[in-house]
Symmetry: C2
Subunit: 255 residues, 2 copies
Amino acid sequence: MTENKRPLILVSNDDGITAPGIRTLIKVMNQLGDVVVVAPDSPQSGKGHAITLDSILECKPINIDDGEQIEYSCSGTPADCVKIAKNEILNRKPDLCVSGINHGSNASINVIYSGTMSAAIEAGIEGIPAIGFSLLDYSWKADFKPLEPFIKEIASKVLQNGLPDGVVLNVNFPKTENLKGIKVARQARANWIEEFDKRTNPQGKEYYWLTGKFINLDKGEDTDIAALDQDYVSVVPVKFDLTAHHFLQNLNAWF
Amino acid sequence: MTENKRPLILVSNDDGITAPGIRTLIKVMNQLGDVVVVAPDSPQSGKGHAITLDSILECKPINIDDGEQIEYSCSGTPADCVKIAKNEILNRKPDLCVSGINHGSNASINVIYSGTMSAAIEAGIEGIPAIGFSLLDYSWKADFKPLEPFIKEIASKVLQNGLPDGVVLNVNFPKTENLKGIKVARQARANWIEEFDKRTNPQGKEYYWLTGKFINLDKGEDTDIAALDQDYVSVVPVKFDLTAHHFLQNLNAWF
């Protein structure tokens, strides 16, 4: 970010370009820089870090509200959106990429399944400081207003300080009317206990719906889940070097 | 794995249940235990850790070759296959989950986009020791035969020793006629430089194909890319706690 120049901010998400969450995020980013939105034309929840290799991508300018941002709607996944933005739409590398606000949690193990975070991670891989924002409320009518000052603060800090190579931020907001502040946290160890809902279609063929229940396996007080349970905004620094460095030495002894 | 009982081994992949790679993997696993295959009915490359939330899943018994394994073909992603195997098909927790052999590299940053590794990671999240195998050769006619003793050795070691909670293995084979041995390695820092191939459809509408070039940004001699370049099999221990622990303290000072 050069002086005397407004930062260039790329905005994406996984709930689709018309979702209320991304509209709030765009509004806040318009206060901080020149905003270009490149987001999926349809919901992409649970898509993980998918990219489109076996199909074509379409991307077109779109005008959704009267904000100052420039917007493009794209047929791909969140990771596709970041790739196409960087390579085909933007004429310089953005100073920041923000993704969200996701309708639903991306705390703990959800980061692995998250389309929202895949946009932020893709930007991080490309060397762009990046943040994913999520609210623990699936409702399309959720109130995003109280999140705005926190989003502005966190994004401003990243614009000001940058982030180390290989690190992006995963920010989650609790569903509460009493946000207590920000807590830096680590990812809680957790999983989903799946419950497959087995049904029979009108032709007599069996099929399943995937459902499940989130189980926190981690009693730590320093986790994102603990922070959210106490009505704090959780900020987890996330990396995409997945190497389990602590196990390298033991594993070496196997071979 | 209890004594006097053959281990239960779950096999999946992302290239689809009929791919040559998974047929080799099944053949080797049949030597080590009782094998159940639950794999996608169609190719799922680049699907990352996607799960199917907005659509139904179908899963049916199938018989592809004359091996001893039991097989199911599933309409979902690799992560879906592991979930449905554990919850609906297997009557006990498997002793091992293997995924692959992928037709193409999952070394370095490719792990993030990998459907093959998402099956292994999903199993790891569920507490099942897991390994993803990939060969740096996209050809459907690639020769998987020389890989067999290495796969058997690595899988046997995991059956014997287990893996720490939160760790799975990412194994990649170089394309060579002269496999030199196994090297334990860390994930190389790399990215893809995308090249979007912009075309116009018969109706005059623009669209893109995503292509790209892999760029290794990491000169380390201890990386998976370095091992593969020297004709070694690379074994990277991979974790799904994405917390950038090294940045927690600095980040704390921001707020």
